[in-house]
């Protein structure tokens, strides 16, 4: 493990996973289709797992490998499966996603958030031990902010859910680099929490869709008891 070229290769692999992770976070903000949003989330989770495995080899930590395995199973496989089971295909087939802002504007704001993440994490990075000082922390925080931003600008239920999950991905991406001995119980708890979140939201969205015929959260702005004719008409 102390072999310098090997460590350098691992570091560059980890950095590459980080760069692509950042790119998927941007892409989740920008895509129009629900299906590609989900695919991007799967790609992002795979990159997170890659980074966890690389770091586990680098720091010789079984905990991080376990984190990687839990991520590999729960996010790319179980979460899409649950979403497919609970939601009708119509939700995925929709091409246009409502956004509060148009896409170029929201990408520029996302960019500003990524730069902000860099300045936010500078003091954190100065505080940690040198061997943990990696690109994961700023990229993870950027992923967290971008996920939160997705949640803010999207007006469609499933992409909003993916925004929450992307936030979690970002937090983990930063977390795995900061601690070698991340307790497995925490990771398991968060992973199962994520599953429950997906399940509950999926069922909720399904119910909304059955009642109203749409999952456009942006249109559900007024509470009315009598059946709202304009919403039904759609």
């Amino acid at each position: 493990m102390s072999d310098p070229p090997f460590t350098a290769a691992l570091e560059s692999l980890n950095a590459l996973a980080g760069g692509l992770f950042l790119l998927t976070a941007f892409a989740i903000v920008a895509t129009r289709q629900t299906r590609s949003c989900l695919l991007l989330f799967i790609a992002q989770s795979l990159l997170l797992a890659t980074s966890a495995f690389v770091l586990s080899v680098q720091h010789q930590s079984l905990h991080l490998a376990a984190v990687g395995i839990v991520n590999l199973v729960s996010k790319p496989i179980v979460i899409p499966w649950i979403l497919r089971r609970t939601l009708s295909a119509e939700v995925y087939a929709r091409r246009e996603i409502d956004q509060v802002l148009n896409i170029p504007t929201s990408l520029l704001i996302a960019l500003a958030l990524a730069v902000l993440a860099y300045f936010l994490t500078l003091p954190i990075l100065e505080g940690v031990a040198p061997q943990f000082r990696s690109a994961n922390v700023p990229i993870g925080v950027a992923g967290l902010l971008l996920g939160a931003y997705t949640l803010t600008v999207r007006r469609e239920a499933v992409p909003m859910l993916i925004g929450i999950l992307a936030m979690e991905n970002g937090a983990f991406f930063a977390g795995i680099a900061l601690s070698r001995e991340l307790p497995l119980i925490v990771e398991l708890a968060v992973a199962s929490d994520g599953l429950v979140l997906v399940f509950v939201t999926g069922v909720l969205v399904r119910a909304i869709q059955q009642r109203i015929g749409s999952t456009r959260v942006g249109e559900l702005i007024s509470l009315r008891e009598e059946s709202a004719p304009d919403a039904v008409a759609e």
Partner: protein, 316 residues
């Protein structure tokens, strides 16, 4: 001395003679992917031959711009060939005359004349295509600037030969996220600049939807041949910049020997073939974007490139 002159000449000849073949292979592979047979890979040569033997028809209303445009479009990629590493890893005579920004400007000159020539005759489709090309052009401009800015940030230079040396000498930095993201952004820029599928359909024959093609509608005979040939060369030149400088900077002649120089030709051809395969996959699996979605495509390229820069900040 003579060797260097020969190398330069060979470099130009390779671009000049192999660019129609590249276009032919691209078209043929695309047809094969769509379960058709397609024309022979040598069809572009036959087209050029046929067009050079036909008479040219010029509108009485057109000015010298219309007549000069084919030559400018044809010459500019050849100028660019002198600036970039096509076969050699060591700089040739004119290598330090201009950097990659200069390459973009020289190619931009060809595009500028093509747009002027399209407006010149008063054909209704020409100005439409020209104004659309300008729209794509000014949207691509910030991406273009930021790509080369990031490149000089990452590799320390924008002279193509020096950038190529940078990646060859430090394979560890080859997998850097900034490099990979930069590649993606540059690739998107090439797609937009050469009128490839998410931006424009190069094989479309519907005038109202054309962007790039409609500018050469009015040309006939040798003018049309030069315009076509210039277009093929522009694609190959951009591929060479992308492949030989950024993606696969290996396999070029590193010593001043004729054997190495000749060996570099098939290696470069193999790289170009791989790139063509990637283009075929993209062209056959994606749909053309609506005109006003192009800004989003190029916006995505811009963001990818800035992400490359941010990732560079993060990892450094």
């Amino acid at each position: 001395m003579t060797y260097r002159i020969l190398a330069n000449v060979l470099q130009v000849l390779v671009i000049l003679l192999l660019s129609p073949l590249t276009a032919g292979v691209l078209n043929r592979l695309k047809e094969i992917v769509q379960s058709k047979r397609g024309p022979s890979v040598f069809q572009p040569y036959r087209d050029l031959w046929k067009l050079f033997h036909k008479d040219q028809v010029l509108s009485e209303r057109s000015s010298w711009v219309f007549r000069a445009t084919p030559y400018v479009v044809f010459i500019t990629p050849i100028f660019v060939t002198l600036l970039i590493p096509v076969l050699t890893a060591y700089p040739l005579f004119l290598a330090f005359m201009a950097d990659m920004v200069g390459v973009g400007f020289v190619l931009g000159l060809g595009g500028f004349f093509a747009a002027l020539g399209a407006v010149d005759t008063g054909n209704p489709y020409g100005p439409m295509g020209a104004s659309r090309t300008r729209m794509v052009g000014f949207l691509a401009e910030p991406v273009f600037v930021i790509v080369f800015f990031t490149l000089s940030f990452v590799a320390g230079s924008t002279i193509p030969y020096i950038v190529q040396k940078h990646w060859v000498n430090s394979p560890a930095s080859f997998l850097e996220p900034s490099h990979v993201l930069l590649l993606a952004a540059f690739f998107m820029l090439i797609l937009a600049d050469t009128g490839r599928i998410p931006v424009d359909s190069a094989s479309g024959h519907f005038e109202l939807a054309m962007i790039e093609e409609s500018k050469s509608l009015e040309y006939s005979g040798s003018g049309a041949a030069l315009m076509k040939w210039g277009g093929y060369m522009k694609l190959l030149v951009l591929m060479c910049v992308f492949l030989n400088v950024l993606v696969t900077p290996w396999g070029l002649a590193s010593e001043q020997r004729a054997t190495q120089l000749l060996l570099a030709i098939p290696l470069v051809a193999a790289k170009v073939l791989l790139f063509v395969l990637a283009l075929v996959v993209i062209e056959s699996s994606l749909a053309k974007l609506r005109l006003f979605r192009i800004s989003e495509f190029l916006g995505a390229a811009f963001i990818t490139c800035v992400a490359a820069m941010v990732a560079r900040l993060f990892t450094a």
